[in-house]
């Protein structure tokens, strides 16, 4: 994470769905900064020699700086971070977080907001809701989940939002009719998606098919970096050579070696960590670089992308 850290203490933690735990974080010294709906923080977890850094959306009311709340889904294929949060963090634990950053803010020009949440993807919308309600905005929240794993805040949202809330529990065979939902909207409607890639793809495919405007679709991709083959990274400017393991990202390997690279999303969307490449084949996995930039082979996003061969030479 870039810039200054904030020291926080876990004030409360509770299970909000079978696989999701919520944590309330209080600042130890200075008050917490205000944030905007859709913001996230990067949470730093120190596990012995290893440090995990994962981005989590803020769930609290953006106008309430007394505590931040985050929710963590235990990933079956956890790279360590979500398991650490679930098993090792309890009330009283201390953590370091980045100041809030926002890559998924509401577009206030919209006449209507359709929020589409898949599983733990409900989290960024939790900070949207108070602001949408304060502004008397027209909105609907569509929550897709499987109650045996996810479905956090379902009962609470049903009560708070009344007719604006629509729940689809796949454990009860309830599916969201995405195509019908989109087709029924009036001009000026924007759709926001936070959920699995299959949900995002379904919305885009449907938009392309029926001529729905693409610029009215907003996506929060919260995928963690996928593992890959281990490789060697040669840092041309400092003359260092570091080994990148199969389970860690290049960014994480650089941070392990105390090499600071500016970053925000850690998921290949924000563009902050772009790094020059002098030599070596690249496996691009980000959503930020253009096709032309990718094929030039001159830069990569180390938060998600890797070497395609045994070695990469970087301009750092």
């Amino acid at each position: 994470m870039s810039g200054s850290y904030i020291e926080v203490q876990v004030e409360q933690c509770r299970q909000v769905a079978p696989a999701i735990k919520e944590f309330a974080l209080k600042a130890l010294d200075a008050p917490l900064p205000a944030f905007s709906p859709g913001s996230h923080v990067v949470v730093e977890m120190r596990d012995g020699q290893k440090t995990y850094r994962n981005p989590y959306s803020l769930l609290s009311d953006p106008r309430d700086p007394s505590a931040y709340r985050i929710a963590v889904r235990l990933q079956e294929q956890s790279r360590g971070g979500s398991r650490f949060m679930h098993e090792r963090i309890a009330e009283g634990s201390r953590l370091r977080i980045s100041p809030p950053a926002n890559l998924f803010a509401p577009d206030w020009r919209a006449r209507k907001h359709i929020l589409l949440a898949g599983g733990v993807g409900i989290t960024p919308f939790m900070s949207y809701l108070p602001e949408l309600q304060r502004r008397n905005a027209d909105f609907e929240l569509h929550h897709l989940f499987r109650s045996s794993r996810t479905g956090a805040y379902d009962a609470d949202l049903r009560q708070r939002l009344d007719g604006r809330y629509f729940a689809y529990d796949s454990a009860r065979d309830k599916r969201c009719p995405v195509a019908e939902l989109m087709a029924a909207q009036s001009p000026g409607t924007h759709i926001y998606i936070c959920g699995p890639q299959s949900l995002i793809d379904a919305v885009y495919a449907n938009a392309a098919q029926i001529g729905w405007p693409q610029e009215h679709i907003h996506v929060e991709a919260f995928a963690a970096p996928e593992p890959g083959e281990p490789f060697e990274a040669v840092l041309c400017k400092s003359g260092k050579t570091i080994q990148v393991g199969a389970e860690e990202s290049l960014l994480e390997a650089l941070e392990r070696e105390h090499i600071e690279v500016p970053n925000l999303c850690r998921g290949g969307v924000c563009g902050q960590c772009v790094t020059g490449v002098r030599d070596g084949a690249i496996e691009h996995r980000d959503h930020f670089l253009s096709e032309r930039e990718k094929s030039s082979g001159q830069c990569l996003m180390p938060c998600v992308s890797r070497a395609k061969g045994p070695k990469l030479e970087l301009e750092i």
Partner: protein
């Protein structure tokens, strides 16, 4: 044409391309002024026979088949009201003089439609609306530079900086040092 566009350095000047019907749209709407009528009609005939609507804005007694008239007085409000009947997956095709294209663009975006749904044909003439930086008056249908401001009478150099909000190019006094000096007049591109 492409070379000329590519070598152009003023970023604010819109870049126009030939418009093709959007095959995915559920409904097609054609809007034109008198100058763009022939262009609009050709495109309308070429587009798929899905739901169609065509409007001519201006005062004309003879209109091609399928075109409805909206009189020029207060046409932006009238058009805005008509739009409420159209769905989110509608494609718009606008033809005419450049200022008109962007005035329609403004009405459509205000109604909630996205820029990608609004297809502007290359302007049907070289006339520009010119915004005077001295008195803020907008002089319509200017085809030469310098041109006289209809608001304050200053002689304006017509620049290529375009405001999509005002639907006009910027004009700056060309002879502020010596108003008696009148540079030669050139036709605008």
């Amino acid at each position: 044409m492409n070379d000329a566009v590519a070598s152009y350095t003023v970023k604010s000047r819109p870049d126009y391309h030939e418009v093709a019907p959007d095959q995915t749209a559920q409904c097609h709407v054609f809007i034109t002024d008198s100058a763009g009528l022939a262009q609009s009609e050709a495109l309308c005939q070429a587009s798929p026979v899905a739901k169609k609507q065509a409007w001519h804005i201006g005062d004309s007694d003879t209109l091609p088949a399928g075109y409805e008239a909206i009189q020029s007085g207060d046409w932006q409000a009238v058009l805005g009201e008509q739009l409420s009947g159209f769905g989110i997956a509608t494609a718009f095709y606008v033809s005419g003089l450049e200022a008109f294209l962007w005035q329609v663009h403004g009405v459509l975006t205000k109604a909630g439609f996205a820029p990608s749904q609004i297809h502007l044909e290359p302007p049907a003439g070289n006339q520009r609306d010119v915004f005077c930086t001295h008195c803020y008056h907008i002089t319509p249908d200017v085809s030469t530079t310098p041109a006289r401001c209809a608001g304050c009478g200053r002689l304006l150099l017509v620049r290529d900086h375009f405001s999509r909000l005002h639907c006009a190019y910027v004009g700056v006094q060309i002879n502020a040092e010596d108003p008696a000096e009148v540079p030669p007049t050139e036709e605008l591109s």
